[in-house]
């Protein structure tokens, strides 16, 4: 009898271990654990035995039953869990694919600049891309035959003035809008003019005949060099981070006096020196200076009363630096693989 109990238990546990589905599980339960199951039969048979034997075997049978029940419940839980597939979720699956459009990186950088300067109270100005030779050059102290006017640098429009000269150009710089802004708004004035410019040069990864600049002008009664420096400093901090420093050097632009360039701490290497900053730790980003009295006068502003400064950023260059774009032609390529990254 004792052996019988052990044998039933062993049989049960062996079969239980092999079970794979819920149906077999039920059959097993019926065979061994139900009221008419093998174990119950044994227990029924106990009543004819001696008291001592009854007690001993009863305890044994009960223990076996509890063990079998426990194992059975465990097995059922396992089988049921993989039986019910719908409960399991692969949470690592991707979400539904939502299509998206893209803004050109030049737009993104221009928006950043516009937001920065409007927060400082600047107007956003506009000017024509097809400009007169006068506003692009002459009025900015670039007289005829000045090196900056080289045919190879400027796109001229095939239409001549009364003197038989080409007098229309695709603007070579947003500075061409300086005098138009002075005429339109007068003084005092704070304005930036972002926009498209053109240079007549062959294109390659670093050169493009169509590019973007952002010009800025500040005019007031007491505007001075210290103000210019300070403004360029806070612009650098906003664009490249709070630890950005500004370094200025003299640079000649015919429409400012004094004139300077501005270099910022290279934000890619934090000034340690890298490939992009040619190991100098500095990036040349801006050209600036106090506006030349000739330019103020041309814009109808008395240089003895007012003074001002002007600055210009290479917007395309900023975008290249910000996003690490290594080929300037991509901006105008319309290549979806490029646009999709922004």
């Amino acid at each position: 009898m004792k052996n019988k109990i052990e044998q039933i238990k062993k049989e049960f546990l062996d079969q239980l271990a092999k079970l794979k589905n819920i149906e077999d599980l039920r059959a097993l339960e019926l065979k061994y654990l139900s009221r008419k199951g093998e174990l119950s039969e044994i227990m029924h048979g106990l009543k004819d035995l001696s008291l001592e034997l009854k007690k001993e075997l009863g305890e044994l049978a009960n223990k076996a039953k509890i063990e079998m029940q426990t194992k059975f419940t465990e097995a059922r839980r396992v089988i049921e869990s993989y039986g019910k597939k719908d409960d399991f979720v692969d949470v690592t699956l991707p979400g539904e694919k939502i299509a998206n459009g893209h803004l050109n990186p030049l737009t993104l950088v221009q928006n950043d600049l516009e937001d920065l300067f409007t927060s400082l109270g600047f107007i956003i100005g506009d000017g024509p891309e097809l400009e007169s030779d006068y506003y692009n050059f002459t009025a900015l102290n670039v007289p005829p035959l000045h090196p900056a006017r080289d045919m190879q640098d400027t796109f001229y429009i095939d239409s001549k003035n009364k003197n038989g000269e080409y007098d229309l150009v695709m603007r070579t710089q947003t500075s061409s809008v300086q005098i138009r802004m002075l005429q339109k708004y007068g003084a005092p004035l704070k304005v930036i003019i972002p926009g498209r410019c053109f240079r007549n040069e062959a294109t390659d990864a670093r050169h493009e005949h169509t590019f973007y600049q952002c010009e800025g002008i500040v005019i007031g009664k007491d505007i001075n060099f210290s103000n210019l420096k300070s403004l360029l400093e806070i612009v650098g901090k906003r664009l490249f981070g709070p630890d950005t420093e500004l370094r200025m050097r003299p640079k000649f632009y015919p429409f400012v006096e004094p004139g300077n360039n501005g270099e910022y701490t290279c934000f890619l290497c934090n000034g340690k020196g890298c490939r992009v900053c040619k190991q100098t730790g500095w990036l040349e980003i801006v050209g600036a200076g106090l506006i030349h009295p000739d330019v103020l006068r041309a814009g109808g502003i008395d240089p003895e009363v007012y003074s001002g400064f002007a600055f210009g950023f290479g917007l395309t260059r900023l975008a290249m630096l910000k996003y690490g774009i290594n080929d300037i032609r991509l901006f105008n390529s319309g290549d979806l693989k490029f646009l999709e990254q922004f």
Binding site: S132, N224, F225
Partner: protein, 808 residues
Amino acid sequence: MYISLNWLKDFIKIPAKLEAAEIAKKLTDHTAEVEGLIKQADQFNNIVIGQVLEVNKHPNADRLRLAVVDIKKEKLNIVCGAPNLAVGQLVPVALVGAVLPNGLEIKESEIRGEKSSGMICAEDELGIGKDHEGILVLDKGAKVGEPFAKYLKADDIILEIDNKSLSNRSDLLSHYGIARELGALFDLTLKPYEKLIDQKIKFDDQLAKLEVKIDDKEACPRYMAIKVEGIEVKESPAWLKERLIAVNQHPINNIVDLTNYVMLECGQPMHAFDAAKVKKINVRSAHQEEVLETLDEKERVLHEDDLVISDGENALAIAGIMGGKESGISEQTTSIIVEAANFKAATVRKTSQKLGLRTESSTRFEKSLDPALTEIALFRFLTLLKTICPGMVIASALTDVNSTVIATKNIEFDLNWLTKKIGQEIPRETAINILKNLGFIITDETENILQVEVPSWRASKDVTIKEDLVEEVLRIYGYNNIESRLPVEELSLPELNHERLIERKIKNILAFKYNLAEVYNYSFVGEDQLTKLNIDFFNHLKIANSLSEIHTMLRQSLVPGLVGNIKTNQAKADALGFFEFGSVFFKAPGNLKKEITGDEVLPYQEKHLGLVLAANEDNLFARLKGVVNNLLQNLLGYTVETEFSVLSTIPGWADKYQVAKIVILGKEIGVVAMLSQTAINNINLKKKVAIAEINFTTLVDLIIKSPANNFKELPKYPGVVRDLAFVVNEKILYNEIRKELLNFNPLIKEVELFDVYVGDKLAEGEKSLAWHINFQSEERTLTAEEVDVVVSELVKVLESKFAAKLRE
């Protein structure tokens, strides 16, 4: 421009502690950008002095020999082909690892089976001469094992200065000029140039005068010349050659080298003619098509706006650019005429550009030279000539045709005003010192007003107004030493740029609601591109100097660019969508003036917005119209409906049937169409393409002027919606029926098309338009009966007007 530090030491005493790098930095920070520092010794890295110990035959080659060379720390086996190789010679040895000036890298090698560990060099291989007859044999003073650079005394350091940053400083295009600037930057004493001129040279007015005639005194304000006999043309002395080589100039012969030397030293280009070939001198305009063979042995064809030096008949030289071959210095030359002249910057520049001939001389004249330099240069030339040609004799009177007006330039300079411009006070003494060190003369000073006289070398173009003096003081003081202070000003309300704000809003809607990608296309288009799109290009503005034939004209529409975007990307996705904001250009007069004065205006320019969708789907046209309508509603209010109406003039690129003008608030603002099949074939597109182009300038106007979208009170009574479908001839326009429905009865508040059916349930040439018609009263709840009455009247009217049948 290359500047030799050793050469600078002729004029200023550079303290031993002052490193070249610091000089470079100072110049960069205060004057002009130094792009590089070249240590002369670097080009002789890994080249040492060796002594030939043995010379043996090469077993496998008759012309080669095997040398054993002692370089002190070891003995090297070197295969050498030079005929002059001999035991005991002291020679330059390029060790393994050396890179010679011609780029040759020395490696361990085997030559015809014999190992060679280095190379014994000839003069030309070291870049210090032209000789290649044999190896360079050094004199007895050479020390075995010592670097060759040390033997050569190649201890010079060369500053490479960015020419562009000197464009307004003609005074810096010379060693003396840079020395003067360094004097101001480091507070060093500058040797006066007169000290470099032999005061004993005598000019004799009694000698024969050179015949010099200047036709155009504006083009040639000053011309100095003198004849010198007893000239022996030969190789320059070592010191002269070394200096020229150091700054990247090739020595030619002693006379030519000396003219170059003086130019590099003081900035004045000079020219020497063979006096035997020059009877007299006439500075004149070239004749039309006059031909001159220049020193570089090229024939130059000249024109009337070019200036030449002639002998009265033939051109001898192109003024300020290059001399002619015929009258140049040759080995037979025994007497010379030396010229030091001043030519007008613009003339030299124009000719140099036209001929594509830029020389050391022309780059200097282009920047407006100080006319006083001619004299200094000529005297310095004669001083040095005497040392290298001791037999020289001055053989003419000194000629100086000078029409320059020596008017000293004085600027009144207010130090208080200086403080105001800088925003910080520069100590009076500092400011005065800076100006003095730069050569400015303070002729008078009261409390805060200085009278500043501009030195001649800064007066030619560079310094003319008080603002220029601000720069002088400020840059030497140091831009980086100025404190930063933001301007303090009254608050004011900046004007809004509506166009910019609307543009930005539209960009966001197009990108993030309709999933279009923003492109920036070129402003230029080409004939082929327009022809394929059947766009007439005769009226386009043209570029006078275009770079390529794909970019010869200015665009009048964004369509060509957008079609190009589809072409570029068609293989990348099934459905594509792009948009662009951009300017377009027309020949018609615009509204911006060309100049401050006068009435002339710029060509008309406006901004357009273009949209393009491409896919192989049938409903592209409807989808794009939907995008346009929804976009305009986002901008103008959701109650505004876009009207698409029939276009009278169809753009060449558009499909004849699927094309409409876009009208909003009664104003035509653009066109929407499918791209024609012809264009699709021409361009080889694989998808259908729908395009919309909107005049953004007009749209902005409309948006600014349109009143705010007024709230309509919500209806108090329930409305009744009836769905009615009318069958009409397919040519009856939606717009016509819609107008009729809306205007039919005041109870009809809104109508909306919800289905269009064409098919076998209808007769050929018929379509069914199904409408939700919304009846609404502001006074009462409508009854079914009164709506029925209106509907039956409506059906009758539509039947009579459009032959419309109500579809059951």
